[in-house]
Symmetry: C2
Subunit: 437 residues, 2 copies
């Protein structure tokens, strides 16, 4: 499929103001083949003639952005949206989530994943990272629905040995790495320092090294976790991961709400990639991550929604806005996390946090994951500052077209790869069975 | 106009779970005349027959909510959206806002107000409170566009005596109080303790008493303000207002970010109504208001967006979500400001914060300001918990119909009272003249 987006304004990676003149973007074989200044049609070169393309998309009144990267979520938990709100984290986890998760079947996770992917695509998210179980079902949903995903079968020792889980996780990586034309990549997952024994962590690190995949893990989400790990092991959660070889391979460390100064140094030295989940951290009362400090040390930080059970939306526009606002409030400094920084976290830095190559930027040779945004609504007026409008005034409903890997998956209000009615039918049926409705 | 909304689920004021069975809502003469259980048509009483109504709206798949109340904004500043982001408050105010505000004409404020009202109506805001200048232009826009508004011509001594402004403000109240079928109410406005002399405050209080209108004022927005007022007068900003008679009349006190313990007691004793503006307070780096403490003392607190220059959206759904999330994060307690509390702040408590009667609730005899919300989108699934979904998962784009004072002003994507293209044309023209584009 060869697609030309004609006469569109664009932000390469949200960095510069000078790229706001209209351009033509060529897309061939799932990649961006060129971006060049738009010229009136009579002057256009042969390769821009309409007939040369399978489809020409008129870009006037639209802003092209790299597709957004949701660098941490749990798609299988989307079923649990609205089940357990305004509760303390441990009550939420132990009395609500864990008992009901025990009842989830592979099919449940499949429909929950499709529900999540549909919501994400509609909002311009073209890449997500998931850690959960029944991951084969999620991989199937990802393959069908056309999103890009970094998938992890999480392992932990709570409720038994993690070895069976690890075996499954290894098999999952071997089966799915590079599937769906490369849209699917995999990681090994250690759930968290407080749910994995040192022995399990060492095995996960060893296998990640052998398989050549990164490790996806939660770290220092709550102060309770930090206290517990310090008491048990005499080091911080990140220190505990380091001590068991987890930082010897590429790592995606999620949350990092309660990193200490030494942790920041350690993370920087070891090239840890961080995922910040402001919405979930706020809603669960986990606290406020030291994002300005992390960025100051040069850490690469992406954004994640976490699951719909703790957010409750899978909306990267919200996370951009929250990431900017919460730290301005917390530091009482309006200059902290400016719009451009939030935009980078949601795009190129999110992809880098997942160790993905050539994802998250609109540039020749990079994957054609992109979003067209309708900037004609009242809430975009006057259009003084596009970056600020994206982060502070816009929203996911402004997304008018979504492309992943060169394929259009959402266009003018319609998902082209997912039958929404069918998904809602199954989700409601499962929710009834689980006693959620 | 007699309108029947048939077979709709509803939340009276977002308080109870037990009102989720479908109802019929009758609207006559701008008021809600009845709400009763929906019965299959063959059993319906005569007054529910379709022919008896000017219009019957099918409510299936919709949730009826009281219209949202944006209890503090500056409509005339919507033109300045995206002009001065990520800047410290005093730079933002002194180098960006004040110089350009000097150039705003009455016509500019008119178009800016229509732009703001259009954005608000689309998002389900049926009442707003505005404090600005050229208020006649804003009142005209309010009258035409069909929103409910509490309007205040702000006064201050910065850059000259506030007496000329006060005279204008008094004239404005006399002319507009009760206009547009009662949709327009007025207040007197003292801008803030740091911009008004004690003499001016006493005059404002005296005139508010004579006119029988409340006072709308900013209080304790920043720690700088608190330090300055303490140094100058030896009391807190709220104490300074109290000392000059401002709390002797009904007051709407906006921001209250840096209230001290004695202030909380004073505010409670004097029945001060508070407006919390989390988005603006966060974006300007002003800090985090003691909302949980305010609510614990029994204070009535509404929500406001503040202006689009400091937010940058006029979106009460965002403010609900922020009001809930920021305090959970700040207190590290997920039980703080549950969804229901945020919903009350956005509806009935917002109206009470503006001293409005019979506004902000769906109940017989109350004004027919209501919103129908489409709950069929993927992000509402599964529909386990409507209150949580409204605050944590929903958004302003889910609004499908808006009614103010019994009149439908927005229906299925279209504003019925505002020519959006005309507004955008004028806003862009003004933005060019001001050098914003």
């Amino acid at each position: 499929m060869r697609i030309l987006i004609s006469n569109v304004t664009y932000l390469e990676s949200a960095v510069s103001q000078d790229s706001l003149n209209p351009v033509d973007i060529g897309i061939e074989d799932g990649k961006i083949s060129f971006i060049q200044e738009h010229l009136p049609s009579r002057d256009q070169k042969t390769h821009l003639k309409e007939a040369a393309w399978d489809r020409v998309i008129e870009g006037r009144g639209r802003l092209a952005l790299p597709g957004l990267v949701n660098a941490h979520t749990h798609l299988g938990m989307t079923l649990l949206r609205g089940y357990g709100d305004d509760l303390p984290l441990m009550v939420w986890l132990q009395e609500k989530m864990w008992p009901i998760e025990d009842q989830l079947t592979e099919k449940d996770v499949y429909w929950s994943s499709l529900l999540a992917i549909g919501e994400m695509l509609r909002g311009g998210i073209t890449t997500c990272a998931d850690m959960y179980f029944h991951m084969g079902a999620t991989a199937k949903a990802v393959a069908e629905a056309g999103i890009r995903a970094s998938l992890t079968r999480g392992v932990q020792d709570v409720g038994g040995s993690g070895l069976r889980g690890l075996e499954e996780a290894i098999g999952f990586c071997q089966k799915w790495q590079g599937a769906a034309n490369g849209r699917i990549t995999t990681m090994l997952g250690a759930h968290a320092p407080y749910t994995c024994t040192p022995g399990l962590l060492r095995k996960v690190a060893d296998w990640a090294n052998r398989l050549g995949v990164p490790i996806h893990t939660h770290v220092a989400e709550t102060s309770t976790e930090v206290h517990q790990i310090k008491e048990q092991y005499g080091v911080t959660p990140l220190g505990m991961l380091a001590g068991n070889g987890v930082l010897d391979v590429p790592v995606t460390a999620v949350h990092c709400v309660h990193l200490e100064e030494d942790d920041l140094e350690l993370a920087t030295q070891r090239g840890v990639r961080v995922v910040h989940c402001p919405g979930s951290n706020m809603k669960l009362g986990s606290g406020i991550a030291p994002l300005p400090e992390m960025l100051a040390t040069g850490l690469i930080v992406g954004l994640g929604t976490d699951s719909a059970a703790s957010n409750n939306k899978l909306d990267l526009w919200e996370e951009m806005r929250l990431a900017s606002l919460i730290h301005k409030a917390n530091m009482q400094d309006a200059t902290v996390i400016p719009a451009v920084t939030a935009l980078k976290m949601a795009t190129c830095h999110g992809a880098a946090a997942l160790h993905l190559d050539k994802v998250g930027k609109l540039a020749p040779g990079w994957v054609a994951d992109l979003v067209l945004v309708n900037t004609e609504g009242l809430h975009w007026q006057p259009p003084s500052n596009p970056q600020a409008s994206i982060v502070y005034a816009g929203g996911r409903n402004d997304v008018s077209l979504v492309m992943v890997d060169g394929c259009i998956v959402y266009d003018q209000g319609e998902l082209l790869t997912i039958d929404e009615d069918e998904v809602i039918y199954h989700v409601k049926k499962i929710a009834h069975r689980l006693g959620l409705l």
